[in-house]
């Protein structure tokens, strides 16, 4: 009898844009595990559900997966809102969620494995890089929701702490496409670099309208935290060429596992597919879960999560990774620059894999995450 695992992403609605590819990567990993014999001698059977970009739907479907389908774990979620909505469900039914996306931290639940970057693994390394390059006036631009606001809160503390200047801070409603007022404000603020946490398609409008007013990335550098390879491809590489991004994985990462992964993904989902950071996190989440099951010798979520943090560091598509005791992933940060083909040239990487810090020490002093 197969082991049921849940895959819960938005297949419809605004977030489907990103989440469908993560679902693909998770399915790919599940298939690979099945090809190599499954776990504990049993095959995996993915149960795919649609969160429909609606937090309440995520909560409902999570409950369905656990109660109705009796899955042993769930891979999924993208927005913090979806994760927050699912959290009580996983705590109530003592199940385990593997969350693949970079987020704002400030959360610490024993029923979630946070593989996406914590703030100190993505945005703060980018700030370090900017400081190294000599940028002093930083403009913070984001979509109006939780990740950009919290990320910028942390960034502001560190910018001031590092002796740099916040040139301005602006938020655009999710999905907003009109940047004329924002651009006026940017022109007035004279920043040297923009730290961009805009979400999804707002980016296209932003870069287009910047270019139309004579400020392409080559003139005013932009460091983005939500533009990965697929977004760059879709936006038209020429539009964003020259802009920067910080991630824990780039498709151009040069290692054998990565090449194999890309080939496998393309074989399955189309020869022109590109892959990105959240997909890879979704992919490794499944692999690590399988390894943890093997180590625990059990499918019990509680045993699995304990085993997961005890696994040794493994070599993966994205370099050396392991789960820290706070159930977040230890991983390396990269800064890349987009070329005209929509691929990142890797410019910089952290000296070693970074320990995840769910609570930023400067912004939220005195808070720590301890999971028993």
């Amino acid at each position: 009898e197969p082991v049921k695992v849940g895959v819960l992403q938005s297949l419809t609605g605004t977030m489907a844009i990103s989440e469908v590819t993560v679902k693909n990567a998770e399915i790919l990993a599940i298939d690979e595990i099945n090809a190599s014999g499954g776990v504990l001698g049993r095959k995996l059977q993915p149960v795919v559900e649609d969160g429909a970009s609606d937090p309440a739907m995520f909560s409902q479907k999570a409950q369905k997966l656990i109660q109705q389908d009796k899955v042993v774990t769930v891979f999924g979620g993208w927005t913090s809102a979806s994760r927050k909505a699912m959290l009580p469900v996983f705590e109530r039914f003592h199940n385990l969620l593997w969350y693949p996306v970079q987020f704002e931290g400030n959360e610490c639940s024993p029923n979630i494995m946070y593989s996406g970057a914590q703030p100190n693994q993505q945005i703060l390394p980018a700030l370090d890089w900017a400081k190294e390059k000599g940028y002093k006036r930083i403009f913070l631009l984001g979509s109006d929701y939780v990740f950009p606001r919290t990320a910028n809160l942390i960034l502001k503390k560190h910018i001031v702490h590092d002796g740099l200047t916040v040139a301005g801070e602006e938020y655009v409603p999710l999905g907003g496409t009109d940047f004329s007022a924002v651009i006026t404000k940017i022109r007035q603020a004279h920043p040297e670099i923009i730290f961009n946490t805009l979400n999804g398609d707002s980016n296209v409008s932003f870069f287009k309208q910047m270019a139309a007013t004579g400020m392409p990335p080559s003139k005013l550098p932009v460091m983005s935290f939500s533009i990965a390879e697929p977004e760059a491809q879709a936006m038209g590489p020429s539009l964003v060429a020259g802009s920067y991004a910080a991630w824990n994985y780039f498709q151009t990462l040069n290692n054998a596992l990565n090449k194999k992964f890309i080939a496998a993904y393309r074989a399955r989902f189309g020869a022109n597919s590109v892959v990105d950071d959240p997909m890879v996190h979704g992919y490794v989440d499944v692999l690590i879960w399988a390894a943890a099951v093997k180590k625990a010798g059990s499918l019990d979520p509680n045993a699995v999560r304990k085993a997961a943090v005890q696994l040794a560091a493994i070599d993966s598509v994205m370099g050396s990774i392991k789960f820290a005791p706070n159930q977040s992933l230890v991983q390396t940060a990269f800064v890349g620059q987009l070329d005209s083909a929509g691929m990142f040239k890797i410019l910089w990487q952290s000296k070693q894999p970074l320990m995840p810090e769910p609570y930023d020490a400067l912004a939220f002093p005195g808070k720590t995450c301890v999971i028993r």
């Binding site: 309440a56 739907m57 369905k64 913090s80 809102a81 909505a85 705590e91 109006d144 939780v146």
Partner: protein, 370 residues
């Protein structure tokens, strides 16, 4: 109160629902619970739309307000004394905002979840209706309200939890929410509230107030010349609809454990209209039926064919509206009609008042009225 002939039927349905915890799986029970909460909102919408002729495309707003009022209390109740909610901390607040403080008191929250939606609705409705703007105008203004308020709630993250909404509650009035027995109680509570709301609404629509409401829907101006000022009645019924929506939102929040701006936007508000349209807009029983059918259908289709469910939903709406304007409860009436609507080669819209084109709310067929 209820029509005598229908009374046994309703009693039977109520009994069946009351025994649901014994009959269905826990997951389906939890779904049923939240859908019954939705049905309370749908009752309100039937009053407002089906009888009052006022289409609200912003019912999600009132639903959300009710939910938020309760969620604020639940959030505070889950905190150790002296602490402020986590999202406030990481948005840079150090003190509880003044308008949060009273929500520590559960009874204040209970009162607020009725009053806040009802008062906002009454205020907006009065501003619009006393200028004699109605019909489509009002519908679109409520839609703009849904858009503006959801954007606003998202933008006020330090005070509202922003896009994430409010979640992670532990107990209410001493009941631990995750406890299975509490879940059961909650289900019965929802059912009881629904039954009460149903009885109240059906009493209301059969009273003279209901007749007047229908009269206003048919000819607001004519009613003025019969000596009635329609404004207070329209405001009252709209506020009542909002109150029921707020109540539904609060119950929903208890069931699901989360309230977020995603539930108060334009799209969910339109979906709410669909529930009522499917059931039959001028039938209270239809509202409940439609809500349950659409939501269970959505749950089922979205699991069975996730990629297709939007398309299936879309087709369903088109079909219901074009082929079945009276909704499911109107089905009986249209079957009894000897001349089928489509037989006549040229189907005209229902005859409008002679030389008067109006953008007025479409009156349901009289036969559809229960």
């Amino acid at each position: 109160m209820l029509k005598h002939a229908q009374f046994p039927l309703y009693a039977l349905a109520l009994a069946l629902f009351a025994f649901a915890p014994e009959l269905v799986s826990p997951y389906h029970l939890s779904l049923l619970g939240r859908f019954l909460a939705f049905a309370i909102l749908a009752l309100g919408l039937t009053l407002v739309w089906g009888y009052g002729g006022i289409l609200s495309l912003g019912q999600g707003v009132f639903f959300g307000l009710g939910g938020y009022c309760l969620a604020m209390h639940l959030k505070l109740a889950a905190l150790p004394p002296g602490e402020i909610p986590d999202f406030m901390q990481w948005s840079g607040l150090t003190q509880l905002p003044w308008f949060w403080a009273p929500f520590r008191n559960p009874y204040f929250a209970l009162a607020a979840l009725f009053l806040v939606p009802a008062l906002l609705a009454a205020g907006l409705a009065w501003l619009v209706f006393h200028r004699r703007v109605g019909g489509v105008y009002f519908a679109l203004i409520t839609q703009a309200l849904a858009l503006a308020l959801s954007t606003f709630v998202i933008s006020q993250q330090p005070y509202t939890g922003g896009f994430n909404g409010l979640t992670d509650f532990s107990s209410f009035l001493g009941f631990t929410l995750t406890d299975p027995s509490t879940q059961r109680l909650l289900y019965w509570l929802t059912l009881a509230v629904l039954a009460l709301a149903f009885a109240f609404c059906s009493w209301l629509v059969r009273s003279n107030f209901g007749k007047l409401l229908t009269a206003i829907r048919d000819g607001e101006n004519r009613v003025r010349f019969l000596g009635y000022n329609p404004t207070p009645y329209k405001v009252a019924v709209f506020a009542l609809g909002a109150l029921l929506a707020g109540l539904a939102g609060a119950l929903f929040t208890l069931h699901v454990g989360v309230i977020s701006p995603a539930l108060i936007g334009v799209v969910p508000s339109i979906e709410m209209i669909i529930w009522v349209a499917v059931g039959g807009r001028a039938s209270l029983a239809g509202a409940v039926l439609g809500t349950l059918i659409v939501n269970f259908g959505k749950d089922w289709i979205s699991s069975a064919m996730p990629d297709l469910w939007l398309i299936v939903m879309g087709l369903l709406f088109i079909l219901v509206v074009t082929a079945l304007p009276g909704g499911l409860t109107g089905l009986g009436a249209s079957l009894r009609r000897p001349v089928p609507a489509f037989r006549f080669p040229f189907r005209f819209p229902e005859r409008k008042p002679s030389s008067a084109p109006t953008v007025s709310i479409v009156a349901p067929e009289a036969e559809d009225l229960p």
